[in-house]
Symmetry: C2
Subunit: 385 residues, 2 copies
């Protein structure tokens, strides 16, 4: 397999973009990534999108988006793995470049979520859970993650305040990100007093509904060295794993087994361990998710995830900064796009382009992206040469 | 890139399966393919599905289906490219094995279309066209293909009877296929007298709405030679291309440019031309589609597609048998599954397992699968060693 580099990244505007269509925001992000890469061609394309069908009544994004990007004729493919669609798109692009099938591969993610309103979005998102055995019985995602939170609190003594600290940290980071959907700070008291969604989770424990797109350009490492004037960011690890889709089928509600397995593969491939990761972007769709994820990644010990944000360990300036972009919580969570947006943050951090939220001496970043309650997960490790 | 072989194939029951769920029929097909391959493990999986969201309210099939197949923990990914989803899933599996990332890769396709009824299915299928510039203005797929048919008739003198001959031929083939949804023969008169759908297309020019699943197991050629007791079927060519999603953006309504480009790539890779293909499975979602496709593949001259079925050229026993399985027309068209079902037919023909519809001396088969009105296309060439 060939070595692969990320040579360009880009984001569209993020937020409630009622005047812009899915194809427009995708082209914004893709054009930005192509310009950043400085390439004059795209050989192949992958697009992560969770549900074009339910959110905007449009499938066949491979054709639509290659067409509107002006590259119709190339091989293009939409991939879906619920909220891990972006991570999976990145992995497919990585495999294609590594295989030698094509050289310059665009990987993008897009979701236009706000057109269907709150009920429509809740229905569409619930299709990431097991419809027949979970959703038809009344549970949606805040309820599922609430069960994980209650179990973590009861078993490991994680406190309600510790959950809040995850939101406080990520909003503090997001306030330094000009692209964030909610670039304001929140307080522990603010989180605790916000509207209850599914006990113990409150509205400020939840990531928002977001319209947005992100893109990255991949190519062989050798080509990147010739082509790029920027620091070379290399893909050194890729892991992908699945787990039972229904939460009730898991042996342990608080252990994200797919994340654990995907991380093991990525670490092994990169020949590093958790201690050698400079910073990470992880899937904080709910505050409890970040806590379970950093445990599964081995960034903290099992059961100790609750104290990480509270103690400053995962804050900018801490031992292992997590979600410097603001995470899904503050930056926003256009579901199929999130995994690629994490790669954008990793790449900019590794190149030293993150301004106020720059991680000093960032050498190696990890991105973890998951679907549903962890039924599918990708982990990627990027390193600056 | 490593050489890749198909070592197992399987189909579920096809038809209007109101008592069976998407997960069940997928597991049927995948289990059959795994048993046929004789493997004791699956390293990775791709599933083609056009719209789990709109047809059954279920996305995140990577997690759901790896879970219900009993292999949750492996990397699994759903791919979508409308009715070309199966072909794209096959290509992704091929690239993954060729890359060296994993060895034993299951590629499947599934669609459960009948649960939403006719209107629901028409809406879901229309999401393969450009919603904003085509569908919102009232056109659906029979209307789009009718425009292609009218143009082909007016430009090349193709007759209404010649369209009917495509249906007659494919139903004659399908009548020999125990798996076909509509295994009955039709006559030219029967087609011409059937209900008008979109002038000139009648109901017997259209492929049906089908529930069904198909699967294939891929592995490196070297491993297949050690493992398999059956004739070794090798993937010798893979092409994938896109075109404008909206029909009105094409320079020529009757030329399937994406099919032409995908075929050129596949022929080049296989180092063969159209004359060296023994038989083909092509995307006859409407009778006119088969006519345009065989022209784009170079199996017949441009403008001569209309006479091919009428003259017997593309019938079993003809120079280049097309759709020996019965095609989408008679075998059925579970949209995201079709591309994999074509691979099943190719593999069985190449192994000499096709019974009454066996192509004598079948050495090299071609599968062409397309989305929308040809906005995305895959072409694969398989060869028996």
């Amino acid at each position: 397999m060939r070595d692969v580099a990320v040579i360009g990244v880009g984001l569209s505007e993020w937020g409630e973009l009622w005047k812009r269509s899915l194809r427009e925001i995708f082209v914004d992000a893709a054009s930005a990534a192509i310009a950043d890469a400085g390439v004059d061609r795209i050989d192949s394309m992958y697009v992560g999108c969770m549900s074009g069908g339910l959110f905007v009544g449009q499938e066949h994004l491979a054709s639509l988006l290659s067409d509107y990007l002006g590259v119709a004729s190339i091989p293009a493919c939409r991939v879906e793995s619920a909220c891990a669609s972006g991570g999976v798109a990145f992995r497919q692009g990585y495999i294609e470049v590594a295989s030698g099938m094509n050289d310059v591969v665009l990987v993008g993610g897009v979701e236009k979520m706000t057109d269907v309103g709150g009920d429509g979005a809740t229905y569409a998102l619930a299709t990431a859970a097991d419809q027949e055995y979970e959703v038809y019985h009344g549970v949606t995602f805040p309820g599922l993650y609430a069960m994980m939170a209650n179990e973590h609190m009861s078993r490991f003594g994680t406190t309600r305040e510790q959950l809040a600290h995850v939101a406080v940290k990520n909003h503090r980071h997001g306030a330094m990100n000009p692209k964030a959907q909610y670039p304001f700070e929140v307080t522990v008291e603010g989180v605790l007093k916000s509207v209850l969604v599914a006990d113990p989770l409150r509205i400020l424990d939840c990531s928002p509904i977001t319209d947005g797109a992100a893109a990255a350009v991949l190519c062989p490492l050798d080509m990147a060295k010739k082509l790029s004037k920027k620091p070379i960011v290399r893909v050194v690890g890729s892991g992908h794993s699945t787990d039972s889709i229904a939460l009730h089928d898991r042996e342990d509600l608080t252990e994200l087994a797919a994340t654990k397995r995907a991380a093991e593969k990525a670490y092994k491939m990169a020949e590093v361990g958790p201690a050698e990761i400079s910073f990470a972007e992880v899937h904080d769709c709910f505050t409890i998710a970040e806590i379970c994820v950093i445990e599964a990644l081995g960034l903290v010990e099992r059961g100790k995830g609750g104290t990480a944000a509270e103690s400053g360990l995962t804050a900018l300036g801490g031992r292992i900064p997590v979600n410097t972009s603001g995470g899904l919580k503050s930056k926003g969570h256009p579901v199929g796009c999130t995994g690629i947006a994490q790669i954008v943050e990793l790449t900019e951090q590794l190149r030293g382009e993150s301004g106020k939220r720059q991680v000093k001496g960032a050498k190696r970043g990890l991105a973890q992206n998951m679907g549903g309650t962890g039924g599918s997960t990708t982990v990627h490790i990027l390193e600056v040469e």
